[in-house]
């Protein structure tokens, strides 16, 4: 595993790209050198000597470009709002790279991948998709968002060569409803056409209920799914045992053992 650094980084840009969604670009040569798609970083939003908010924010790595790292995030609370106010020229303390990325298997082959993104779950899936396509795989990318204003990354995913389908909860764009409905619909057509959904791998990132449903769908069809989990984190390095998730072999730490897990490993209902 690559060396981790707690790096003080310059903010290169911090731009709003859609309703509540921002892309923060930072210069992080040490982290960028060691990071792979699916890993994440932990960002300190408070000033160096301040005590509040004490805990950092974990964010997936959206893009790695030379010495620069981009993070795509949604403003959901105080920490992410404060982050969105950090202007170019400011410094932020960023810890990473953390966790393990997705497993993409050997390059080549004609396998298919279905990538399912719910809300800000898109963030770590873009560079994954680019890698899959580079490896010669065919990618169908399903985006689920609240409204058409919350849809992000669709154009660049198309440009990269993925087939993109969108669903929104209010029906203002694409199919109305949850992205898992889109997944079921898509799998039905592939099943009838190719009769081999089993050869398709699912990659997913989003809210827990969505991942649970994705995992149920995969199990029903005997497909393999990799899910990237969200958990409340403090240290991000496996030291506090705070980010536990129940698995078939006992509690594991999302920050260190994940955040990507095989969907069959996760015990979704804890009690």
């Amino acid at each position: 595993m690559g060396k981790k650094t707690d790096e003080i980084c310059d903010v290169a840009s911090n731009k709003k790209i859609a309703e509540d969604h921002f892309i923060l670009e930072i210069t992080a040569p040490k982290i960028a050198k060691n990071a792979v798609p699916g890993q994440f970083v932990s960002v300190q939003v408070r000033e160096e000597r301040a005590t509040d908010p004490l805990i950092r924010i974990p964010l997936g790595i959206y893009r790695i470009k030379g010495k620069k790292l981009s993070l795509l995030y949604k403003v959901v609370g105080r920490g992410t709002r404060m982050l969105s106010e950090k202007k170019k020229g400011k410094k932020v303390r960023v810890l990473g790279p953390l966790g393990n990325g997705f497993m993409t298997g050997a390059p080549g082959g004609k396998e298919k991948a279905v990538v399912v993104a719910g809300g800000h779950g898109v963030a770590p899936l873009v560079s994954l998709t680019e890698k899959l396509i580079k490896d010669g795989k065919r990618v169908v990318f399903l985006i689920g968002a609240r409204t058409k204003k919350h849809v992000v990354c669709d154009a660049e995913l198309r440009k990269a060569g993925a087939r993109v389908c969108v669903s929104t909860e209010d029906g203002t764009r694409g199919k109305k409803g949850y992205v898992t409905e889109l997944l079921k619909e898509y799998l039905k057509t592939t099943e009838s056409k190719e009769k081999k959904a089993q050869g398709v791998t699912i990659y997913a990132c989003g809210p827990k209920p969505m991942l649970e449903e994705v995992s149920r769908i995969a199990k029903e069809r005997k497909m393999k799914a990799q899910v990237s989990l969200d958990a409340y984190m403090v240290c991000g390095i496996g030291a506090c045992l705070g980010c536990a998730v129940k698995t078939t072999t006992g509690y594991k730490m999302v920050c260190k053992d994940g955040p990507v897990f095989g969907s069959e490993e996760i015990v979704w209902k804890e009690r």
């Binding site: 981790k4 707690d6 004490l54 409340y232």
Partner: protein, 307 residues
């Protein structure tokens, strides 16, 4: 500048130690600091039998602090002694084991296992665990009951080969009374404090934010209360004190020392800034230099009160 401290006859290179449960077993931090610069590492608390830990969420942020209810997740003392301790002893610093139990026998059994082939430099006794035997006394935790505290410390002291440190809960009316009980039973030092009871609720869902409903509060939010606990014990009991609670920088270390601590432990800060111990040690040295204090021991208990 002389930073060494001697506690229970054991010499430590400096008074900045890593607190139990906040520093893993050290190896998680090797990318961020030189472990040999840390005064001592207190390992995560272990119990006689492995424990799965509490349900999730186990942590949540609070103003200038955090609540945790990890529930002493650990693989048991045998695993610690065989697999973890030998590795930790290679880091070039003192290693302190932390043990807990649900009865006096469990504590003693842990101490026995830690007196085998690989032994720690000291044993911290985490008394913030349910008080099963003395349940009728209304003392929820062992360290809320002077009698239970005395029994456990005395029994462990008899069995252990290493110096022992009693780690107390601040959730008591009179912390000095418990500290005295621990000292009389043979504790070489007292660690003050473990976390304060607390809880947090999401008003929109009306649900607790921790799976366990209640948890322990740590971080800068508790520092003034922890400093006071140290001062209370320093005034009333002649015993070595390890101050703990919300230390984030060198001046915070000085605050605990002036109140009467001989050494300190850094907890939550390690979790939000993994390289913090190196920075805090540097800042503390700068402070001592600026104050023209040549030995870290000379600052202990130097609180000036009155005119």
């Amino acid at each position: 500048m002389d930073l060494t401290v001697t506690i229970g006859g054991m010499k430590f290179k400096n008074p900045l130690w890593a607190a139990s449960g906040t520093f893993g077993c050290g190896k998680e931090f090797v990318d961020f600091l030189d472990l040999s610069e840390v005064g001592a590492i207190v390992a995560k608390t272990v119990t006689l039998n492995p424990r799965e830990g509490n349900s999730t969420p186990r942590v949540v942020e609070t103003p200038s602090g955090m609540l945790n209810s990890i529930g002493l997740e650990n693989k048991g003392v045998e695993h610690f002694a065989a697999e973890v301790l030998p590795e930790m002893k290679r880091y070039g610093t003192r290693v302190i084991a932390s043990i807990s139990g649900f009865s006096r026998q469990e504590f003693v059994e842990c101490a026995r296992v830690l007196s085998g082939k690989s032994t720690p430099d000291a044993i911290e006794i985490n008394l913030s665990c349910p008080n099963v035997r003395h349940g009728h006394t209304k003392c929820l935790l062992m360290a809320q009951d002077p009698k239970a505290t005395k029994e456990v410390i005395r029994a462990v002291k008899k069995r252990a080969k290493a110096p022992i440190i009693a780690k107390l809960t601040p959730n008591v009316t009179d912390i000095a009374e418990i500290a005295r009980a621990a000292k009389d039973a043979g504790a070489d030092a007292i660690s003050l404090v473990n976390t304060y009871f607390g809880m947090a609720i999401d008003p929109l869902t009306m649900r607790p934010l921790l799976g366990n409903v209640v948890g322990g509060l740590s971080g800068p939010a508790i520092r003034p209360m922890a400093v006071k606990a140290v001062w209370e014990v320093y005034k009333k009991v002649k015993v070595a004190i390890i101050g703990i609670g919300g230390i984030m920088n060198g001046l915070d270390v000085a605050e605990f020392m002036i109140a009467g601590a001989n050494a300190v432990q850094i907890g939550t800060t390690n979790l939000v800034e993994p390289g913090a111990m190196t920075r805090i040690l540097r800042e503390y040295k700068e402070y001592l230099k600026k104050m023209k204090i040549s030995s870290a021991r000379n600052i202990v208990g130097r609180l000036k009160t009155g005119g």
